[in-house]
């Protein structure tokens, strides 16, 4: 059975790279007692596929990985009846030998650390392509960590920027130099006033003043402080035409004749999409989670 897991990554965890996140989930799945399927061979590995690697320094509310399981059994359920454990599982879990997707989500969340949160767990139809192959686009939000972007009339500038016929970009890799037209891969770019979501997306700089407050209970002046104009975009994230939001931002800065260092703004991936449109049709982006049969929510 194929399972799709959607998760958020934020705060200090943005410094954990993609490969380390894969290792983190491999261990978390074992801690959660999930009956994951292993590959054949002398050194079997878990059958797991991440949708799109997230760069170090980026936060996300729309990360995905698919796993395959043998069953919905909780591998530790029987052990738990035997041993009076220390596993943070509440008494209800001890009776549950078979997990629902909702319970799997809760079990995974108990195996997480601050900065990674499982948002949903759903069963995939067997016919669905794995997460990595499904990715077509991703939406991102860029906001300044302190104050505002130093770009005059940001809204209009973004409109003018996007109105250009082409947005040529020179991508230099170690081996080659590639000329791209970013315009082709930017499906949407706008600005918006955002209210920073205190749970996931609160930039860490604001934490100091909020130290004594519960995260769900942010006083009003802080909410005011957390209002900012952000840039929002949907861009190609498929393996063949992936566009990094930093590339778009670099060109935007060039267009607006400003220089803004990468450390000044925060990039958040909001959602990862697959494209339901057939070849030749207009894109029909839906979140990867929409492919699930049963989300238990």
């Amino acid at each position: 059975m194929k399972i799709r897991i959607k998760f958020a990554k934020y705060g200090t965890m943005k410094f954990i790279g993609h490969l380390d996140m894969m290792r983190f989930f491999q261990k978390a799945i074992r801690r959660a007692g999930i009956d994951i399927k292993y590959s054949e061979g002398f050194s079997p590995h878990q059958i797991m596929s991440f949708a799109a690697p997230l760069g170090v320094g980026l936060e996300s509310t729309g990360e995905y990985l698919d796993i395959e399981v043998n069953s919905m059994k909780n591998l530790y359920a029987e052990d738990l009846l035997r041993v009076n454990d220390d596993l943070h599982l509440d008494s209800q879990d001890k009776r549950q030998k078979i997990m629902t997707v909702g319970e799997m989500k809760d079990g995974l969340n108990r195996a997480m650390v601050e900065g990674v949160e499982v948002i949903s767990v759903g069963v995939l139809p067997d016919t669905v392509k794995n997460a990595m192959a499904s990715v077509a686009a991703a939406s991102y939000r860029l906001h300044c960590k302190e104050g505002a972007f130093g770009i005059a009339d940001l809204e209009q500038t973004v409109r003018d920027f996007y109105a250009q016929e082409t947005i040529p970009y020179t991508k230099e890799t170690k081996k080659s130099v590639i000329e791209l037209d970013l315009k082709q891969g930017i499906y949407e770019i706008t600005t918006e006033k955002i209210e920073v979501n205190p749970k996931f997306l609160k930039p860490i700089e604001y934490v100091e003043c909020a130290e004594e407050t519960e995260l769900t209970d942010i006083p009003e002046q802080l909410e005011d402080k957390a209002m900012t104009t952000a840039i929002r975009m949907i861009v190609n994230a498929s393996s063949s035409g992936n566009i990094k939001p930093s590339m778009v931002f670099e060109k935007l800065c060039e267009f607006a004749c400003v220089e803004i260092p990468a450390s000044a703004y925060q990039v958040t991936r909001l959602e990862t999409y697959t494209d339901l449109a057939k070849e030749g049709e207009t894109h029909q982006f839906v979140p990867l989670a929409a492919c699930c049969l049963d989300t238990g929510n």
Binding site: T12, D20, G33, Y38, Y76, E114, G115
Partner: protein
């Protein structure tokens, strides 16, 4: 959400920012208002090395099990961050709290190898704590050293407020209780140290002074505080089964050297190899109960999610319930898709059978550690491994499908001759020949056998029978390596043998630190000031800087390394008592020169002195 000590800008600039953010699974965060003592535990090397150390995990879980104590971790910032911290004047911080180490009550530094000594100074310097204990004010943390190198703490004595000698599980509670008591009474730092000196296993260096003879050897040790003890006996855990074990070890995000569950099956070693310090200072052997170990294995795999488990001990083959434990692990781990990484086992039918179950025979290699090339020299060092046993084990292994063998030797052992060195090539050759004799042509995988022969240079260590032995010079070492290479090249099967040898410069320095006295501290401080750190990383080791530092401090390297020591010379570490007596060590040193072996602890007690603890193998 936690606030980090380093800005995004800095974290995005350094290699592997995950080294500095904490937040790992099973790391412990406490409310600093609810604790009385903040203890920062340090492994003075890079995160990936430090996180692989079992000892810190043990102490970390012990401290954090106490409600009034918060134990954090800190490791050496890598050179990239080191430069940024100095440039921006950022104080070193604990990974859990992300707050300055200098605000903690204690900074505990584990001393696992001599070549980390400059990193201790890096840690203190970045923490903005004065390098010399005597310069530290009332508000500075108490800096504690522990671990194997504290068995000769003198070369680094000036940098520490106190050393904890022996196993950490026993005296930390009394030490912390005294700390709190003294604080309550309004006592000073000095008051604390005076009281600490009376706690078993605690050594406060500033209460003693070395007085030297004209030739530089020690004349006597003077006490500067009358009530400080004359001798300090190491601490040991009497019941290793009924003691704390880290069932929830911290799980790092990045790949570290030891990225697996580690099960310590026993402490100590019955073998008594004469070059080996661990074999003496951890006496007597104490085994953990096998049922308890099975429980630990299951619990720890659950709590970490690790995909591999490994056994830890000095000589796993000597653990009496090894078969039972391995049978259990093989069955349990197979179901859970957990790999078992085997420690170095004695090669025999049993271990080969186990190995073939848990590893891919074609890809793995077998390791033998004869340590010396001839039987004569193996008798000198009391390594009870005969050529017959090695060749028989190799034959069995080749029949089982293995084609790769690693051999470890030491060069520069006491009494070594050209014949002994020649023996290294001979033995390597005989093992290759065994392959061709054992495995018929049509069954040879790739048609060949690979022997990798490695040599390290022998460094005499305190509390070993060889503590009296002179060490070779760099030139002698390199000549011996050359002879070894030549010896291998002359062999019939030389094409099947690959030879590796260690750097000689580092070994010479390690020799100085191992048996150094308090004078050596000057050179360490000087070399650090001239930029030395991460000396165990060859790309950062600057031998020329070290040599000039010693010269400018008027210290003669040869005095510490190549000098012949008299039977009755006072050694810098003589005030410590590791359980094994000096008389026993001297007896063994004489026996070594007579090429006589000593049986192991289980076959016949040699009266080493560790029997006074009345535990483990001494009571069997």
């Amino acid at each position: 959400m936690r606030k980090l000590a380093l800005s995004d800008e800095i974290l995005m600039q350094v290699e592997k920012p995950a080294r500095y953010i904490g937040n790992e699974v099973n790391s412990v965060v406490k409310d600093k208002k609810e604790i009385a003592v903040r203890f920062v535990m340090c492994f003075p090397d890079v995160y990936e090395i430090g996180m692989s150390h079992l000892g810190i995990q043990v102490l970390y879980s012990m401290f954090n099990a106490w409600d009034d104590v918060w134990c954090e971790r800190v490791y050496s910032p890598w050179t990239d961050l080191d430069a940024l911290m100095r440039k921006h004047n950022i104080p070193l911080f604990g990974l859990e709290s992300q707050e300055p180490v200098k605000n903690a009550d204690f900074l505990g530094i584990t001393l696992q190898y001599e070549m980390c000594y400059t990193n201790i100074l890096q840690i203190l310097d970045l923490a903005q704590i004065p390098l010399l204990a005597k310069d530290r004010g009332e508000d500075m943390p108490i800096v504690i050293g522990g671990g194997p190198c504290s068995y000769n703490p003198e070369p680094i004595a000036d940098f520490f407020d106190l050393f904890y000698i022996g196993e950490g599980e026993t005296q930390y509670r009394p030490l912390l209780d005294w700390y709190l008591e003294n604080k309550k009474q309004g006592g000073s730092r000095l008051d604390f140290l005076k009281g600490a000196a009376k706690i078993p296993g605690i050594y406060v260096p500033q209460f003693y002074e070395e007085v030297y003879n004209e030739d530089g050897t020690i004349k006597e040790r003077k006490k500067l505080y009358e009530e400080a003890p004359d001798k300090i006996l190491k601490e040991i855990v009497t019941d290793v089964t009924d003691c704390i074990y880290p069932l929830k070890p911290v799980v790092p995000f990045i790949k570290v050297t030891q990225d697996r569950v580690v099960l310590e099956i026993q402490r100590g070693c019955i073998r008594g190899c004469r070059f080996c310090q661990a074999g003496q200072i951890y006496r007597p052997v104490r085994e953990r109960d096998v049922d308890k170990l099975k429980e630990y294995a299951v619990e720890m795999l659950k709590n970490t999610g690790h995909e591999e488990i490994s056994l830890s001990s000095l000589s796993s083959s000597d653990y009496s319930k090894l078969n039972e434990l391995l049978d259990f692990l093989i069955e349990d781990c197979d179901q859970k898709h957990i790999n078992i990484s085997l420690p170095s086992l004695r090669i025999d039918a049993f271990s080969l059978d186990v190995m073939s179950k848990v590893q891919d025979v074609k890809k793995s290699s077998l390791t033998f550690a004869p340590e010396a090339g001839s039987q004569r020299l193996r008798d000198v060092i009391n390594k009870g491994l005969t050529e017959e046993v090695i060749l028989k084990g190799a034959a069995l292994a080749f029949e089982g499908g293995w084609t790769r063998v690693k051999l470890y030797f030491m060069l520069g052992l006491p009494t070594e001759t050209e014949e002994d060195i020649k023996g290294i090539g001979d033995l390597s050759n005989k093992i290759a020949a065994t392959f061709f004799d054992t495995v018929p042509k049509d069954k040879r995988v790739n048609g060949k056998v690979q022997i990798v022969t490695s040599t390290s240079f022998f460094i005499p260590k305190p509390f070993t029978p060889f503590q009296w032995a002179p060490m070779c010079t760099k030139e002698q070492f390199l000549d011996k390596a050359y002879q070894t290479k030549k010896g291998i090249m002359e062999q019939l099967n030389q094409k099947s043998i690959k030879y590796n040898w260690h750097e000689a410069d580092v070994s010479v320095l390690e020799g100085v630190f191992a048996r150094g006295d308090r004078k050596v501290a000057r050179a360490i401080l000087e070399a650090y000031k001239r930029g030395c750190m991460f000396d165990s990383w060859s790309e950062y080791f600057h031998n020329d800087v070290w040599l000039s530092s010693f010269e400018d401090c008027r210290l003669d390297i040869g005095f510490y390394t190549t000098r012949e020591r008299a039977d009755d010379e006072i050694f810098p570490w003589d005030f410590l008592d590791c359980g094994v007596t000096r008389e026993f060590l001297l007896r063994e040193w004489k026996k070594a020169q007579e090429e006589t072996v000593s049986p192991n602890c289980r076959s016949q007690c040699q009266g080493c002195g560790a029997g006074r603890f009345g535990v483990g193998v001494c009571r069997e």
